[in-house]
C-alpha cells in the first residue's frame, strides 16, 4: 500500500510517498524525499507514529484554575485520545512544581505525564 506523507524533519517539508517493497534495502521504496533523514522519518510514521501531547488539568488551591501538563516524551499516536481521557479525569491540589510527575508510566511506555509549570 502506498502512503502519502509530508516530511517534517527539516523546514523543506518534502511531500513524499512510501510503499512496502520487500526487495528494497530498507523494506520500502520512497519517492519525493530529498535526503536520507526523510526515509527514517517516513518509516517511523507508517510503522509506529508518536506525538508529544500537551494539555491542561484542573488544579485547586492555586492562583489559576488550570495547570498545563505534557508527556515527558512522545507517546504512540493512537493513544492520544485515551491519554486525553486520563488527563480530563485528573485533579490535583496546589502547590505543584514544574516537572512534577502526575501520572507515572503511561500505557507501560515508560513515559510520564508531568507539570509544565509551578503553580
Amino acid at each position: 500500500m502506498k502512503r502519502e506523507l509530508i516530511c517534517i524533519v527539516c523546514p523543506m517539508g518534502c511531500h513524499c510517498s512510501i510503499e512496502v517493497d520487500a526487495t528494497a534495502p530498507k523494506g520500502y521504496t520512497f519517492s519525493g524525499l530529498t535526503c536520507k533523514r526523510g526515509e527514517d522519518y517516513a518509516i517511523k510514521e507508517i510503522t509506529e507514529p508518536t506525538r508529544m501531547l500537551t494539555s491542561t488539568i484542573r488544579i485547586e488551591g492555586a492562583r489559576l484554575p488550570r495547570l498545563p501538563v505534557r508527556t515527558s516524551s512522545a507517546i504512540p499516536k493512537e493513544r492520544i485520545y485515551e491519554c486525553m481521557g486520563m488527563i480530563n479525569a485528573l485533579r490535583v491540589t496546589g502547590p505543584v512544581s514544574m516537572g512534577q510527575v502526575l501520572i507515572k508510566d503511561l500505557f507501560g511506555t515508560g513515559v510520564n505525564l508531568i507539570a509544565s509549570r509551578s503553580l
Binding site: 509530508i6 491542561t56 484554575p65
Partner: protein
C-alpha cells in the same frame, strides 16, 4: 546616589524579551534594574502557549511555553532583579521617564538611565479585516481563545471555523479538537500557509482538519451567537469567486489573522517606527531613534521562534547596560540597511560600525515562499556576504551574520536581496 524613583535600567514588559534583557543587563554590570509587568505574573504570552516547540536553539530541548519562561523567571529571581507585577506603564518620554500605575503604589513617575521596551505584540482584531455579515458573539481572536482555554479552563465553542493559517490558528485548531470541539475548516486567503509545515502536519492532518488555501469568509450568520459561516475561493485579486461557496453550521469563529507590535508607548516618546515591521527603527545595539531607549522581541518585529526573541533581548539588555555606563559611541550611523528584491524588511535598520563587538546579525523575512536562491548582502556592487538557501518562506525569519572586519570603513547602504543561483558550468 540614586533616589527611590531612579533606576539604571527600566524594562517595560516581563515576557521572554523583558526577562532576557534584564538578566543580560545585570550580567553587564547594571545594579539597579526594574522590570514592569502589567499582568498578574511574569512570562508574557508564553504562559498560555502550553504546546511544545520552544527552546530548541537556546536549551537544545523541546519545552512548552511555561517551562521556557519559568527557567528565565528563576534565573532573574536568583539574581535578585527587582520586578513589579500588576503595574502598567502609561507613558514614556524621550527623557527616559515613565509614568506607571498600580493598585499597590498608585501613580508614580520613574527615571531611568536606559529604558528597554519589551511590550510584545497584539493580535489584529476583526475590525482590521473586513468580513461581511452580522457581528454576533462567538468570534474570538485565536490568542484570546488560547488564553481562555489554557489558563481559565473555559471552552469557547463546539463547532469551530478558523480564519487564517498562522501558527496560533493551527495550534488552536488542534487544541480545540483535543478538548472535544469539532474544527470544521481552516481558511487561508493566501495561496500558502504562514504556519510551519510541522504544525500543518501535526495540528491539521493528524486530526483530518481540512485547510482551504486561497479561501476567505464571505458571510457570517447568526444574530446573538454565530450560527453559520460561508467560505469561498478567491481569485488572484483576492475577490471571492461565485459558485465556490462552502457553508458550515458552527457556533464559533477563531481569527488568526496576524500580529502587530504593541507600540502606543513608543509613539508617545516620539520613537520612529518602521511602517513594514510596525516596530521601532533600531540600530546595531537595538537602540531606537531616541538615545537610551532600546527595544527587543515582538515589539520590534513579530518573531515566530521565542529563541530568537531571547537572543535579540540579550543584545538589547547588554547594550542598554553599556549605554547606562557611558560606553556606547553615539552619533549618526555609518550604514543603513535596505530590503532589496525578494526581502520584506531588514532589522537592524542602521549600523554604527564602531559599536560592533564581533559581528552584526541581520534579521529579515522574504516576501514569498521560494526555493534555491542566494541570500546576498551587497555594498554597492561589492559582495559582502552570500548564503545559499534551499528553502525560504515568509513564515520563517532568516538571519545573516556579518563579521565586523567586513564592515570596517564602509558607509552608505547595505543592500540585502535574493539572487538566482548561477548555474555551475
Amino acid at each position: 546616589m540614586m533616589s527611590m524613583n531612579t533606576y539604571e535600567i527600566i524594562i517595560v514588559g516581563g515576557g521572554p524579551a523583558g526577562l532576557a534583557a534584564a538578566i543580560e543587563a545585570h550580567k553587564g554590570g547594571s545594579q539597579k534594574i526594574l522590570v514592569l509587568e502589567r499582568d498578574r505574573e511574569l512570562g508574557g504570552i508564553l504562559m498560555q502557549c502550553i504546546h511544545n516547540g520552544f527552546g530548541l536553539h537556546i536549551f537544545r530541548e523541546e519545552l512548552t511555553g511555561p517551562e521556557y519562561a519559568e527557567r528565565f523567571i528563576r534565573e532573574m529571581e536568583s539574581l535578585g532583579i527587582e520586578y513589579r507585577l500588576d503595574t502598567m506603564v502609561l507613558e514614556l518620554r524621550d527623557d527616559r521617564t515613565v509614568d506607571i500605575i498600580s493598585s499597590e503604589h498608585g501613580f508614580e513617575t520613574l527615571q531611568a538611565k536606559a529604558v528597554v521596551l519589551a511590550m510584545g505584540c497584539r493580535e489584529r482584531a476583526r475590525g482590521a479585516i473586513n468580513i461581511p455579515g452580522t457581528r454576533p458573539a462567538g468570534i474570538y481572536s485565536a490568542g484570546a481563545a488560547q488564553r481562555f482555554v489554557n489558563m481559565e479552563g473555559l471552552m469557547v465553542g463546539k463547532r469551530v471555523v478558523v480564519l487564517g493559517s498562522g501558527d496560533i490558528g493551527l495550534i488552536m485548531a488542534r487544541r480545540m479538537t483535543l478538548e472535544g470541539a469539532k474544527v470544521l475548516a481552516v481558511a487561508e486567503i493566501l495561496p500558502y500557509s504562514g504556519g510551519l509545515t510541522r504544525n500543518i502536519v501535526q495540528c491539521l492532518d493528524d486530526y483530518d482538519i481540512p485547510l482551504y488555501l486561497s479561501h476567505t469568509i464571505t458571510n457570517i450568520e447568526g444574530r446573538d451567537r454565530v450560527e453559520g459561516i460561508t467560505i469561498a475561493k478567491v481569485d488572484a485579486t483576492r475577490q471571492p469567486i461565485p459558485g465556490t461557496e462552502i457553508h458550515y453550521d458552527c457556533d464559533t469563529l477563531l481569527l488568526s489573522v496576524g500580529l502587530i507590535p504593541e507600540n502606543e508607548l513608543s509613539k508617545s516618546a516620539g520613537i520612529r517606527l518602521d511602517p513594514v515591521t510596525g516596530g521601532p527603527v533600531v540600530n546595531e545595539c537595538m537602540e531606537t531613534s531616541v538615545a537610551g531607549i532600546f527595544a527587543c522581541g515582538n515589539v520590534v518585529q513579530v518573531h515566530d521562534l521565542v529563541d530568537w526573541v531571547t537572543e535579540e533581548a540579550r543584545k538589547a539588555g547588554h547594550h542598554a547596560a553599556r549605554f547606562a555606563q557611558g560606553q556606547l559611541k553615539e552619533g549618526s550611523p555609518d550604514l543603513v540597511t535596505r530590503a532589496g528584491h525578494g526581502i520584506r524588511y531588514v532589522v537592524p535598520h542602521t549600523i554604527r560600525v564602531g559599536n560592533l563587538e564581533q559581528e552584526v546579525d541581520l534579521m529579515m523575512r522574504v516576501t514569498e515562499p521560494c526555493k534555491n536562491k542566494n541570500l546576498v548582502v551587497r555594498h554597492g556592487e561589492t559582495l559582502v556576504k552570500k548564503v545559499r538557501k534551499v528553502h525560504l518562506t515568509p513564515g520563517e525569519m532568516e538571519s545573516i551574520k556579518i563579521p565586523v572586519e567586513k564592515l570596517q570603513g564602509l558607509s552608505g547602504e547595505l543592500n540585502v536581496c535574493l539572487e538566482e543561483v548561477a548555474h555551475e558550468a
